[in-house]
Every structure is written in C-alpha cells, then in structure tokens.
Symmetry: C2
Subunit: 394 residues, 2 copies
C-alpha cells in the first residue's frame, strides 16, 4: 500500500460486542465467541444470516485446546453457514490481522456486511503449557529452544532501554499504575484493582527487571465487531465509526536479528502507512490503544508510533498526561495489563474500546470529545504489527 | 458473492514452486517453505522484495512443532519484511483459503504481486500426536473427545454411501488404484508405486471399510504460487493462468449435524458460486484436482461438484475415464492419496498441478489440450470447502 490503499469504498464499524476478559472457568472457546458475536449482532439489529463473511483471530486453539478450524467452528454455532469463515493467526496480533482482512473484504466491494472476531481460551492448561504455547509466537528453533520466554525477551528490551535512555525502575512502573487505574473504570477488565509504584516494585520478579505487575495476564475472552460500507452504515447504527486506515507490517521474528532491540520497526512501518492513508499526524489522535503486553512495550509503542522521540516516552507519564483526563490518553480500558490479554481477541478488544470512546459511550473513563483513535496490536516481540485509525462519523 | 464477485481486476498465477511431498527428515518447516517459495520467485524472475504481501496456509504448526506465527517466520527468512504476512487456517483447506485471500488482495486492486504459500511439517511427532493434531479439524468437544478419528468419520460416510448406493468394496478401491497410477508419473509425489484393487482390499484395516490404501499419507511439504493482475502477468511469464473464480463456503463442523452425511454441502455451495462466477458448466472442465483424503471423499467430491449425480461417481472409473487420458482426468498428480497430503500445502499443490496441466508442462501425465481446470480443497470432514477454477490465458 502506498498511502492510499486503492480500495473502492470507505468502511465503518457498525456493531460491537465482547465478553469480560478474565478467567472463565464455566465457558469454552465457542461459548465466549458466541457471547461476543451475539452482542454485536444484537447491537446492530441484524440477523446472523445477513453476515456475508467471518474472520476470526485466534493464536493457538491448537496448543491451548487441541482445537483448530476455529473459524468454521464458531461460524457453525453462530448459524452463519454457508458464509466463508477464515481464521487468521499472527500470534498476539491475530485480532488486528483479522480486522484488516475484514476491512479489505468490505473496502474492496466484495462484501457488504462482515463479522470480525477474536477469541482465546487460555486458562484450560497448566502454567508451563501456556508458556509453551505462547513461545510459539517466537522463533521456536532459534529463541524458545534455547530457553527464551516472552517475559525474558521483553526483559532484554527493558534492560537495554534503561541502559540507553536512563529509564528508572519507578518510571517504568508508572505504566502499570496508570493501566490499573484505567482498568478500575472498566467493568469488562480482567483486573479492576488500583496499584502503586511500590506495589509494582515490590511484586515478585519474573524476568529482571520485569516483575509480576509489569506483565499482562493470560485471559479468556472474545470480542467481535461488524463492518459495513460507510454509505450503508446508518442502516445499522446512529454512530458509525469510520476505519480510516488499517495497516500491517512485518519484522524479523527474533530479537537477535534486529539492529536495535529498543525499536519495533514493524510498528514504525505500519504507523507510517496508517497516518499517510488517514492523512493525519499523531497530534490529531485523541485516544490511543497500544500493545502493552509488558510495561516496557507501552513505552516503545508510544515512541515507534511517533507520539514522542525515542527515549522520551516516560516523560509523557508526568502530570497524568496519559490518563483519560490528560493530553494523550493511552489504554483507557486498562490495556493488556489490566484490561486483560486474551491473545487472539486483543486486537479486536482494542478497536472496541476506541469505538466506545468515539461514540461517547465509555462511561467513567470517557475521553471528552474524542474524534480520532488509534489502535496498535503487536505479534510476538514485534514481528507483526497492525495499526488502525478510527474516526467518529460526521 | 453473487455470481460475479464485484472485484476490480482479473488475477493470474505467474509463478509456481513446490517441494516433493513426503518424509523430509532433513528439513524443517522453514526450509520447506523457503525451497518452494524460492522456486516460485526464480520462475517468475523477480526479487523477493517485489512481493507486496504474503499469505500462507498452515493447519497446525502449533501442535506439530510448537511454532505459531508461521507467516511472519517464513516472510522473515524469505526477506520479505516489511510486507504484511498473514497465516490463514481452515484445517486441510488452509491452502485453498490462503489462495482465496491472496486472490482477493490482488483482484481488489490492493496489491500487484502477492505470494501465496502453504506448508506443513507433519513427521516430527509420534503417530498418535499427529492424529491428535489432525483431530483439531473436527469439533474436539463433540467428536474427537468421544473417540472419533478422521478415518473413523470418513468410514461412517463410506458405510452409509455403500448402503445407500450399493457401492462395492472393489469400486471404492479403484480410486486409490487410479491415484497411485497417476502418482507414478509425478516426480514430486509421496508415493510413486502402482497398486491393484487386490492390494487395496488386502491392506490393513484402518476404520472399516477403509484400509491403509484408502487413506492419504501424512506428508511434509510446501508449495507456493505468485499472483498478479492479469494485465501485468506477461511481465513475469509467457503462460499466465487466469484465476476465473475462487469461492469458499462453510458447513457444520460435525457429521451428526448434517442432513445427509454422503453430501458435502460446502462443496456444493462453493462449486455453485465458482461455476457461476466463471460462467462455465462442469462439462467444460478439462482437468480436476479434488480433495481425496480418503477414497470415498473423491467420489463424494465428483458428485457434489456436479460432475455426476449422487451415487453415480464410481461409474466414472469404468474404462479409464478419470485417468489422464480419459474424458474427465481427476487428480493427475496422484491426489492426496499418492501425491501426498502436507495439510496446509495441499490447496496450493492442487492449484500448481492445474497450472502445470494448463501450461502443457505436466510431462508424462499431460492432459492433451487442457484449457480449464478446477481445484477442490476441503477442511475437516467438509466444514470448509474452497473451489478454484483456472483457465489458460489466451
């Protein structure tokens, strides 16, 4: 894509639905997916049969549940057959990639009503098996085989960043404090408890310098949104949210193959494309959802997306600028850290939070007058990044 | 899609490459994918950097290898970054679904050169683990949990079909005999040995009435093709092959949810759409690749695709009609049965065999004057089906 993507039509989000993110011991993958999808269908006032195609992001139904063929499974129980059902996978960016494929299928003129979902059921396996499954997002032969874990990979980034830019342990903790504060306003968040910098620094060590409160949880959850051409959006909703851009880029899977482990090149590339297509600059973004699988990841994201220069993200946390009342509200739903991380669903959950903010439906955490939102979804340690820009319809 | 898919441009296949299908003890998933992709790139005379996007079908890198995020992994080692890399999964139809997503991305005007691959590395696990991975294509809670296996599911279909239509054990065996004969002409086939009806009937029982020679093997393999707009195809090849249609449909995941287990409704639906879009009838098809994971599946496919009436497929095997010299050549590369079934790669391998036939490059198994080919790729026991119609460029 070169700036404008050359597709035929503008696309709008016309319905949203999601489960709470957390430990759903009483629900399986299909139950979660159905709950989220039916909410979206009800909100848009449609019948499932009207949906022409279905994309779902799911990272590892195989390793978590022994269940592949996830899109056809969910489509079956949603009553969508014979509509085509496509599972896409790009590790933790599976949801964002599903959104992009759905966007292409509507923007191209192929379909007039498409459901895009994300789902992950992560709590049905023991801890070490879950870590094995998540290690599938890395290069298993060149990283995981030698003992690397995801917290370990991001810990290396954090250490290098602290060395390069003098980031303090306390400043890093501010990311988690802010996201837990936001989570306390989100009824669907995995964690709603507020924490302090001391709580973060005093929590058990996971991979130095990252502690428990630096790491997002593993969540069960599902999210779904409905896409339609903008010109038909008001058939379904009074407040269509326009998808101004949805861009994806790739980078090396392994950390050791990158020039600078404090920069996610895929984020930079996808952001550049998205801003160009949407014809806006970072200054015009009112509310942000970024991929904070670990505290350090949120700082990298703000820099690589262009909201500040490299090494300066921590300064944005002074005086509450990244809180929902501040100049640049980041992860108003609690992000991955407190909102929860149901891997395949996260990219869709991020878009849904933006839709709520842009509709003015975000309740106690509403960003006043928000008109433009940006979502940033990362797979693995940055090999895939998707950047989506949404705008409130006129 | 309603007949014509409303997309902007016609699409052509401008390069192909594949590994042999079989047991590749010396090669991993990335090695196989690289071998196939580099062949396609060399054939088209391009540099990898020219590829704007990459789709790859892979059923279960997770359960077979612990490796998810497969598209980014392969794109990384192919040097494609920052091009978007998307893995799609629909069990054994993963390759066909990847082809369809790549087709949409070019037909829509979004991209001018896209690589579509499929890859599976299946032999690195013990037998029972492989069966567990493949069971992920079924409904694991409602079928696999109760002991159903894939041969068991297809055995039920075969039994019902024999009961309904009086199919003999010998007639069913003719499918395998023909596919092994074809495989003996294909240097890339998993099996190149010719067999007899007595060999099939005398082979060990797997799930009554299906015996070893009724079942396709588990193969390692990869396949890749390059897609471009038809109007630009001659930059890359003298013999562009036009993608006239690529249609996908869904059905219930579980056998018990279907009205008739001898009919794959998703195949019927996808075929109807594909014939309508390509504006041809089955009579005009010169060469066919159908999803023969088991012998019975090939008979069902010929009926559900519209090449004969229900219950009459076996009659097409009299007098060599389905052999490459016959009236309706089916699975000229040996199909899944003898050609091999590297699950995620199969849908791409099928398209590649058709490209060879339509180019006139199929060597000793060439179908004389073939102008139109049809590929049929099925996921699970029929919950996903993709039908692709290819035509030799004028």
């Amino acid at each position: 894509m070169n700036g404008s993507d050359g597709l035929r039509r503008r696309v709008a989000i016309v319905g949203i639905g999601s489960t709470t993110f957390g430990e759903h011991w009483d629900k399986g993958l299909r139950d979660l997916a159905l709950e989220a999808s039916l909410k979206a269908v009800e909100e848009a006032g449609i019948k499932g049969k009207e949906i022409e195609s279905f994309y779902v992001g799911n990272m590892s139904g195989g390793m978590f549940l022994g269940q592949e063929h996830v899109a056809a499974l969910v489509a079956d129980f949603l009553g969508l057959k014979p509509a085509p059902a496509v599972r896409v996978e790009a590790a933790c960016a599976s949801g964002g990639v599903a959104l992009r494929q759905g966007y292409i299928s509507v923007a191209s003129g192929l379909y007039d009503l498409v459901a895009v979902g994300g789902v992950e059921k992560m709590t049905d396996v023991q801890g070490s098996l879950a870590a094995t499954a998540l290690a599938g997002a890395m290069d298993t032969e060149w990283e995981a085989y030698f003992g690397a874990t995801f917290p370990g990979i991001y810990a290396m980034m954090a250490h290098r960043y602290m060395h390069n830019y003098g980031l303090s342990r306390e400043a890093l903790a501010e990311v988690a404090v802010k996201n837990h504060f936001h989570g306390s306003f989100n009824p669907q968040a995995h964690f709603k408890n507020r924490i302090t910098v001391d709580d973060v620094i005093g929590s058990p060590l996971v991979a130095d310098p990252l502690r428990v409160y630096d790491c997002c949880p593993m969540s069960d959850g599902a999210a779904c949104l409905l896409l339609a051409p903008l010109e038909e959006a008001r058939k379904y909703t009074d407040t269509p949210i326009i998808v101004e851009a949805c861009s994806q880029a790739s980078d090396s899977l392994s950390l050791f193959d990158r020039g600078d482990i404090c920069t996610l090149e895929a984020t930079r590339e996808a952001a550049g494309q998205a801003f160009s297509q949407a014809k806006i600059s970072p200054r015009e973004v009112d509310v942000l959802e970024v991929h904070d699988c670990f505290t350090i990841a949120e700082l990298l994201a703000l820099e690589d997306l262009g909201f500040c220069r490299k090494g300066e993200a921590a300064s944005l946390y002074k005086e509450g600028q990244t809180y929902f009342g501040g100049r640049l509200p980041v992860n108003t739903d609690g992000g991955l850290k407190a909102g929860g991380h149901a891997v395949g669903a996260t990219g869709i959950k991020q878009a849904i939070e933006l839709v709520k903010q842009l509709r003015g439906d975000a309740g106690g955490r509403q960003v006043k007058g928000a008109e433009i939102g940006l979502a940033h979804n990362v797979g693995g340690s940055g090999a895939t990044a998707v950047v989506t820009i949404l705008r409130r319809g006129g």
